[in-house]
Amino acid sequence: MKQFLFFIFSSISFIIAQTNDSIITGFVIDNETGKPLSEVNIYLPNEKIGTTTDVDGKFIIEEIETYPIALQVSYIGYETINQAIDRRAIEPLKFSLIKKLIKMEELVVTATRSKRFRSEAPISTEVISRKDIDNSGSRNVAELLSQRAGVSLQTSVAGGSILNVLGMDSRYILILLDGQPITGKFNNRVSLDQILTDQISRVEIVKGPSSSLYGSEAMGGVINIITEQNNKTREIRVSSRYGNTQYNFNESGLKDGSSNLGLSFAQPLKNLVFNVQINAEKIQKDKSVQQIDIDKVQKVTLGSDINWTLNDYNKINFKSNSYNQLDNGASKLMDTNTEIHRNNFSLSHQSSYQKGWNVNQSVLSNNYERNYIQKRPWGKLETDDLTSEKHLEYEILLNKKNQSNELNAGFEIYRANYSSDRINSGSQEIISKSLFGQYDIKIKNKINMIFGMRYDDYSKDYRVLSPRLGLMYRITEQWKLRTSWGQGFRAPSFLERFIDWNNVQFNYLIEGNPDLKPERSNGITIGFDYSHYTNNQFSLVYYYTDFENLIQDYSKSRGVLSYQNIYAATFSGFELSQQWQLSEKVESKWIVNWSDNRDESNNPIPNTIPFSVSSYFNINFLNNRFQSSINTKWVAPYKPQEFDVRTATYILSEEKINGYALINIRTTFKIKKSINLSLVLDNVGNYTNDNFGPFIGRAAYLEFSTALITKDR
């Protein structure tokens, strides 16, 4: 009955509208499916007015003064229609939009903080898609990224691992989760092994300083891990995985392997869509954890995403993510337990206004807690270190877009509180305010320029201005030149400024330096890329980033270590990549990276891998029932870092690590339409290096997944 009344009302509205010359009405459908398309841009370039279609694909434009008019219908992923309309049109206008052949085209958000097709983004963005993630066989983001050329994992001097991206320590690369910095770092770095691949939809990588949009830490680039779910149907997805390293298998057989269980659930309810994801992982006596004297690791994540479409102009999104980790290690002398809890909540309101204005307001609350306890088996408590971080943020983003330009501007304010037994007074707090703007202009469909600027004010301790300029020149429809220049910075961490910790065992003291200045970077990228929508993408990028004021620890006085800004360095390199869909069944992707990183004396920076190649080859056969993918990575010989006991500094080793290859094979068998069984063999060649990694030799995983789609929306 409701639908009938709506139909009558709509019809009357249309009839009334058509009798009025100053109004035009119409509707937009998908040419292939015939279904209405909502939020399609309807624009009159001469009159500079426009609107978007409603949920039924209908639109009305009022206040038209003269005819004929030029009308433009555009929608992401579809061919744009340009049409002249005269006043004699009495029927509602009908537009059938044709989908672009976008097999290899993705929407990206990181380079501009608004959705763009990757080929159209003025700043070059690399995407690791969900399909790439599935075919990689990786359990977490650290494993996923380390399969890529130009990325490596090194052992950290303070425990755990350091991810080097393009030869840069990961603390100079901003790691975002859904566009927001991750609260809770260990040794000033995000622990990427705490982000399980099961919960993410894609990863975007932007090279070059990007502090003009994101502020601190985006000195060398940005990695944005996106969990966005776009389920439009009720869906239950279950996956289970069992893995075992060769080492472990020989020692303990099946019982001490690693297991992972994932469950995701999506439920659309009229204007509401719920997505819930649960993932539990247990790692036992795996080499990766034994390296750090841990016997067992348990990780549980619970994520939820609720989208509520209030009306055509207003949407509300609530997102939560809870991560819990428990590490246990036991020996005759010490029982070690580490508990990590990270809880993120965000509430966003997105509203659209006339003339292409969009406003997005968000409130974010992130809490992190890490409790490290060491207890003797006979009951004596040796260590009880509790570190907690609280981050409360409000941000407002304004976006105005039309055919030739786009404006993004925003304001962020947050309060961050850090408390730890290892810092002065036990607790420190900063309030940061940031203002940023970015203007993107298209000139004659040939040139796309971007100007960005951000101002950060950290509790009046630091004030940093970060600009960025970008240019994309469309040489032909397929070939593009992209170049960008930007400045980045990293604000000193709470630990670097306020640590006050005495290492009882070795009798030295670490003192923070509250006068540290932010580390700064200044970098350019320039490159060409070729993109053919259907089957081929190729890019060549040169990047050069100059770092100054880098923070380094030093010996302040006898038995006292501290931090100071002394170090400068340059990071440069070429990256060549190609993604090629040879046929419906065969796909390949490869990346070649050359890196040349130098310190201020022009000496090579330790741990820089000068040359690495990664490739991915995927083939479907037997009517897509079998899918097999091979990931390979070859790392050229490089010189690692070693400690010089005479000078108590880290130096470039004289001895090179020989080149090595890592090969992972994943084969998936589709048992039924939505039931998959996969066998993954990691590090087939069983290459290990106990000092510098990789630490885990050959490993095998068996994975089962099924998707139960019960009802269309």
Binding site: S156, Q505, N507
Partner: protein
């Protein structure tokens, strides 16, 4: 009847002999596991013969020593031997399988080999992960006063405390 007594006597003798052999063997291979005190509380002296902590008569000492590091001195945990002990290093055999003493000319004064920074240091410091670890060598210690020989293996170091195992070896 005397035949029966004779057989019983022989069985008894054989039993006693076998018990005696076994007892000797067990005595030679009694494995002791020792957990030291925390080195941060002061030096720890241990007598392998008596199997007790003994500040006056000892073979092994566990203490913090000054180690030069980048032009400065830092305290690092270290093991050492008494002046009346001599040392041989076995890096190839499994600790459990060593049952007899090596030949006398295998022994030499400790000479700093076992202490921190020595060629066969019992405790090492891994710069990569900032962690103290134990070596996997077997230390054969000869007491020049009692002429007894002991094998020692360091199993674990954690927060200033060490677990080590030792046993007395039969003469070669």
């Amino acid at each position: 009847m005397s035949q029966v007594y004779r057989i019983i006597s022989m069985i008894m003798i054989l039993f006693l002999i076998s018990c005696e052999d076994q007892a000797d063997k067990n005595k030679a291979m009694i494995m002791n596991e020792i957990t030291t005190d925390n080195v941060a509380d002061g030096a720890y002296y241990f007598n392998l013969d008596s199997g007790v902590k003994d500040n006056a008569s000892w073979h092994l000492v566990f203490q913090n020593i000054d180690v030069p590091f980048g032009g400065q001195q830092y305290k690092m945990p270290s093991f050492g031997l008494s002046a009346s002990s001599m040392l041989a290093i076995d890096s190839s055999s499994d600790f459990e399988s060593i049952e007899t003493s090596p030949s006398p000319n295998a022994f030499a004064p400790e000479g700093g080999r076992m202490v921190y920074g020595g060629s066969h240091a019992a405790l090492t410091y891994d710069m990569a992960v900032h962690k103290v670890g134990v070596s996997n060598y077997t230390y054969i210690i000869y007491d020049t006063v009692t002429h007894k020989v002991f094998k020692v293996h360091f199993d674990e170091y954690s927060g200033g405390i060490v677990i080590f195992r030792y046993a007395e070896l039969a003469a070669s």
